[in-house]
């Protein structure tokens, strides 16, 4: 593991913010288990819990916490300067941080989604949701990492994207779905394990292409932004 990735991981788990990662996945698994325990028909709870909570909230919010934490916290407290004063290509710094963000958020959201999917239908649906979550974690992480270099309020803007763009607009305005990572995840999971619990609104090929475009675009942009990273003088 690179030194940047090591410091990033230590920083991520050393902060109280890491504890925020736990409640949502636990809630997801807990709700799914409760529905199964009370023998509720998966048709009644599946879409709400798996999509409404799992893919629309748990995956993006977990990734938001992690994605903005790997770089945004260091930008906030100024420790980023220690990493930037090293003769390393900025690409290596972004890729190391992105790698940590993807790994942590993919594991944190894919595992509960796998369990919830299995409980709702089958291991195949669980696997499909886990793969979808992992793919989503890649695109979301790249996007949120870029946000933490573009604005001083990445969490707020990220929440606006999740709640307003994906949560509201993408449900009612069909054109915005093409720019919704959540829709890509649903489409990919639906393609792997077609059930009537998930309904993809965009085609799987488009979802894959858009995921690649979003990920690459955000990563390249983030690398360029980090090259021009400015520290404003506190006394100036």
């Amino acid at each position: 593991m690179s030194t940047v990735a090591y410091i990033t991981a230590r920083g991520l788990f050393g902060r109280r913010r890491a504890l925020l990662l736990l409640p949502l996945p636990l809630l997801l698994v807990g709700l799914a288990a409760l529905c199964v325990a009370y023998d509720v028909n998966p048709q009644n709870w599946g879409p709400t819990v798996l999509v409404g909570l799992g893919l629309a909230v748990v995956l993006p919010v977990v990734t938001l916490i992690v994605g903005t934490g790997v770089l945004g916290s260091e930008v906030d407290d100024g420790t980023i300067v220690h990493i930037l004063t090293k003769p390393m290509p900025r690409r290596d710094i972004i890729l190391a941080k992105l790698g940590v963000a993807i790994l942590v958020s993919a594991v944190t959201s894919a595992v509960p989604l796998f369990i919830a999917g299995w409980l709702a239908d089958s291991p195949k649906l669980g696997l499909a949701l886990a793969v979808g979550a992992a793919v989503g974690a890649v695109a979301y992480s790249a996007f949120f990492l870029l946000l933490s270099l573009l604005t001083r309020r990445p969490v707020l803007l990220g929440l606006v994207y999740i709640l307003v763009w994906e949560g509201l607009l993408a449900r009612f305005v069909s054109g915005t779905r093409v720019l919704s990572i959540e829709q890509y995840v649903i489409a990919i999971a639906d393609r792997i394990a077609p059930t009537n619990l998930l309904t993809g609104q965009v085609g799987a090929p488009l979802a894959i292409i858009m995921t690649v475009i979003v990920t690459l675009g955000c990563t390249i942009f983030a690398i360029d932004r980090l090259r021009s990273f400015s520290v404003a003088g506190e006394t100036s």
Partner: protein, 303 residues
Amino acid sequence: MSVLELQNVSRWYGNVVAVNDISMTLGSGVTGLLGPNGAGKTTVLHMMAGFLSASKGRVTLDGEPTWRHPAAYKKLGLVSEREAVHTFLTAYEFVRASAKMHKLPDPDAAARRALDLVEMTDAQDRRIGTYSKGMRQRTRVAAALVHDPQVLLLDEPFNGMDPRQRMHMMDLLHKLGERGHTILFSSHILEEVEQVSGTVQVIVAGRLAASGDYREIRRLMTTRPHVFALQSSDDRKLAVALIGEKSVSGVEIDHSGLTVRASDYGSFTRALPRIALGEGIRLRKLLPSDESLESVFSYLLEA
């Protein structure tokens, strides 16, 4: 030997000009960057360190720009003013991580050497979060020195240090300067700069106000007119006596007492008690009224 050069560098934020047409060349040895708070020292240091682009002009290290050029950090070390450290690491882990990011052949030995240089070996295995401000500062200096950079930039390095740590840091900067390193540190305290460096660059309101040997600048500072507020048992009689004194260039009298302008600080302060004693006048108040550093700097700017 590395040369850090600023050529007609300006930096503005919207309508505010933070740095205005500064040119300087820094070679080996210790240079102090002196100026009051808000003068633009940090902006200059950040431009030198590649953390800010110049709005106009060029900042180069050995001919290469520092902005958007990470390879410059092979020769450059920076200790910023902001006390930002990864508090969850120990000093050893922190400095070793720096060494590894520099891809040094033996990061462990480099970390030990740097920590030894700043006398942090005893506390190196404690988490940085438990350190005092001075210890954190020394840890940051160790991290900046781990690759033995030719150029070391330090922003207000003595802030928060106790006198012993301050002496030690001054000694360290001296040694590095003598070994041929280019050291630039900023400070708003004249005495700090005087004790460490032979040459100073004085920045006032974003402009380079003076540059060169500190003794020359110090002389300019001490021979400027000094203003004193005085109260005595007989202000009018004292005013008459003072105007005959060579070091006094002007006296004003009003209901609150006397305002005396002295052209030579030392001669006036020696003459005053003698004059008062000779005239049988009792002095009630003597206050130097323009001793703030800002007034010293603005005088320099006018000089």
